[in-house]
């Protein structure tokens, strides 16, 4: 429908320069430039390398998205950008670009939360989000259970990791097994050939007195490293596929168990899973199995929309416009530790300090 908001979204919180364009719940373009190859030799994302790559890729990626969508920047109803959380220098490139386009084109600017965007992207895949929405976000940067009564204004953290993010544990175990970076896809691939019941790795924070919705993957990672090292020390072969499958099972077992518990406790009958680890095939299949058994409807966007991208930011921006939420001011800061409870950043100067007349002389 032509009267749905047309919004461009910019995402630069980590190593992907993402620009998406949506009209309401319809995805029109999703352009991504990734610097992941430049980070591989360091075994992790190097902030300065990521920021340099964002600067180079920013305008060409915006141009590519507009071309892909077949729309003119003048037709946009708003420009949304990840204001946080993420790497400070990386965020700043996207925020600065968003401001410049918003100001030059005379469009409202929406600084939005990266985590809320991960949830909202599912509107592009499965239509309007139920209210409230239960979301499990799992990636290299985050592992959170979130309850969102209103994705544009009310997102409540139920639990999160107390140490490593789930994706981080995948990367670390991949390194122990010599599988390279990023580790998630490599472990997933190898695990398909392994026995997930071969080794009983620990399930963190699942004891009777442990926090219900928090996660811990640090102990698991160490247990895997110790197990592998002990084998090597004894001169035995390491059954890498079994290790990968058993490790992966320990992660997805805890994730899905806690997510379903959260749905039950809060009377929510559906679950959305997002973030890069949502691309994991075993997480998807186990979540499906357990949701079906519990009578919960599962919503998982396609893998390309689960990893960091601009479309998710545009999706939340479009929802902000549709619901008439306040835009951000042009002094919007990039906030590397923006709490998830701040779905958007309305800004701290008053609109009247900026004159509108000089935009349209």
């Amino acid at each position: 429908m032509a009267d749905e908001p047309l919004v461009l979204g910019i995402e630069t919180s980590c190593d992907e320069t993402g620009v998406g364009i949506v009209r309401g719940h319809t995805l029109l373009a999703d352009a991504v430039a990734s610097s992941v190859d430049e980070h591989a030799r360091y075994g992790g994302v190097v902030p300065e390398v990521a920021s340099r790559a964002h600067l180079e890729a920013m305008v060409p990626t915006i141009q590519r998205a507009l071309k892909q969508a077949g729309v003119s920047a003048r037709d946009l109803d708003g420009i949304a950008v990840t204001a946080g959380p993420g790497l400070a220098g990386a965020l700043l490139v996207g925020v600065s670009a968003a401001k410049a386009y918003a100001y030059a084109l005379g469009k409202p600017l929406y600084g939005v939360n990266h985590l809320a965007s991960h949830i909202c992207v599912d509107q592009l895949e499965h239509g309007a989000l139920p209210e409230p929405t239960m979301a499990l976000l799992v990636s290299g940067g985050h592992s959170s259970l979130l309850l969102a009564p209103d994705i544009t204004s009310d997102v409540r953290p139920l639990g999160s990791t107390i140490d490593d993010a789930a994706g981080e544990a995948f990367d670390k175990v991949a390194r122990v097994l010599g599988l390279g970076f990023p580790g998630g896809p490599a472990v997933d691939r190898l695990a398909r050939e392994g026995d997930r019941a071969a080794i009983a790795f620990p399930r963190g924070l699942t004891g009777g007195r442990d926090p219900l919705y928090d996660f811990s993957f640090s102990g698991l990672k160490t247990a895997v490293a110790r197990w592998v090292e002990a084998r090597r020390r004894d001169g035995q072969d390491v059954p890498v596929a079994d290790v990968a499958a058993s490790f992966q099972e320990a992660v997805v077992d805890v994730l899905t168990r806690k997510a379903i518990r959260a749905c039950r406790d809060n009377g929510v009958d559906h679950l959305m899973i997002g973030g890069g680890v949502a691309a994991n095939s075993r997480l998807r299949s186990l979540a499906m199995e357990r949701c079906e058994a519990a009578g919960i409807r599962l919503r998982v966007p396609r893998p390309g929309l689960c990893t960091d991208n601009g479309a998710m930011v545009a999706a939340l921006g479009a929802e902000m416009v549709a619901r008439g939420r306040a835009a951000s001011t042009l002094d919007l800061p990039a906030d590397s530790s923006l709490p998830v409870t701040e779905v958007s950043v309305p800004g701290h100067t008053h609109v009247h300090e900026l004159s509108a007349e000089n935009l349209y002389g």
Partner: protein, 221 residues
């Protein structure tokens, strides 16, 4: 002609409008930690002060550094975005050249050195024969390690002020980068057909390959 100039390569967040003859308006705020927050509001302020609109701008002039990275990128990505959104050319100018032009306006016309703060006990610097005649490529070094003949010259910029022992003949003006000076230099270059730099950052250092804890980090070997 209406040039919109800005520079975020130094602690100053500075923006100016220039009509080819003179600076119409300038805003300079020194706040090394808030380049991203202050730049677009500064652009808005100079347009308002000059009573001009953004769609009258015929070209964007941006300081390309050298400068500490995070702030430097704010100006460059803003310039590239304005250039694309407004469909006008973006002219890159070495930040040190802007300071050299301002030094000329302050009365220096013989050989001199421009040095800015590069942090980590180093300076970004270049040697000039005059306000529009840079004779060395911009470089980054410890002030005390600069060639003796360079250090002996009159010196301007925060780098000179920071290391008085290394620069015995330091001059107080200009203390900070000025987008007005940068715009005036750009207008001069446009009038004389002198070339610009591409609007790409002069980092002069390789990135620190530091992977922070908690971000897709992996076990140490």
């Amino acid at each position: 002609m209406l040039l919109l100039a800005f520079d975020t390569a130094t602690p100053a967040v500075t923006a100016a409008l220039h009509d080819g003859e003179r600076v119409l308006a300038e805003s300079t705020v020194v706040d090394a930690r808030r380049h991203g927050e202050l730049l677009v509001p500064a652009v808005d302020r100079v347009l308002a002060a000059a009573g001009r609109s953004l769609d009258e701008v015929t070209g964007v002039v941006v300081g390309v550094g050298p400068g500490p990275y995070t702030g430097l990128r704010v100006g460059l990505v803003t310039a590239a975005s304005f250039g694309d959104a407004l469909d006008v050319p973006v002219h890159g100018v070495c930040t040190l050249d802007g300071l050299a032009w301002a030094a000329g306006e302050a009365g220096l016309d013989g050989p001199f050195t421009v040095a800015t703060d590069a942090r980590r006990k180093e300076v970004y610097w270049a040697r000039y024969d005059g306000p529009t005649a840079r004779v060395t490529e911009p470089a980054v070094d410890r002030a005390a390690d600069l060639p003796e003949d360079v250090r002996a010259l009159p010196a301007v910029g925060a780098g000179a002020a920071l290391y008085p022992d290394a620069f015995p003949d330091r001059r107080p003006d200009p203390a900070h980068q000025s987008a007005g000076a940068l715009a005036a230099l750009a207008a001069h270059r446009l009038a004389t057909g002198a070339p610009f730099l591409p609007p790409l950052p002069l980092y002069l250092r390789r990135p620190d390959a530091q992977v922070p804890a908690g971000y897709k980090a992996v076990l140490p070997t």
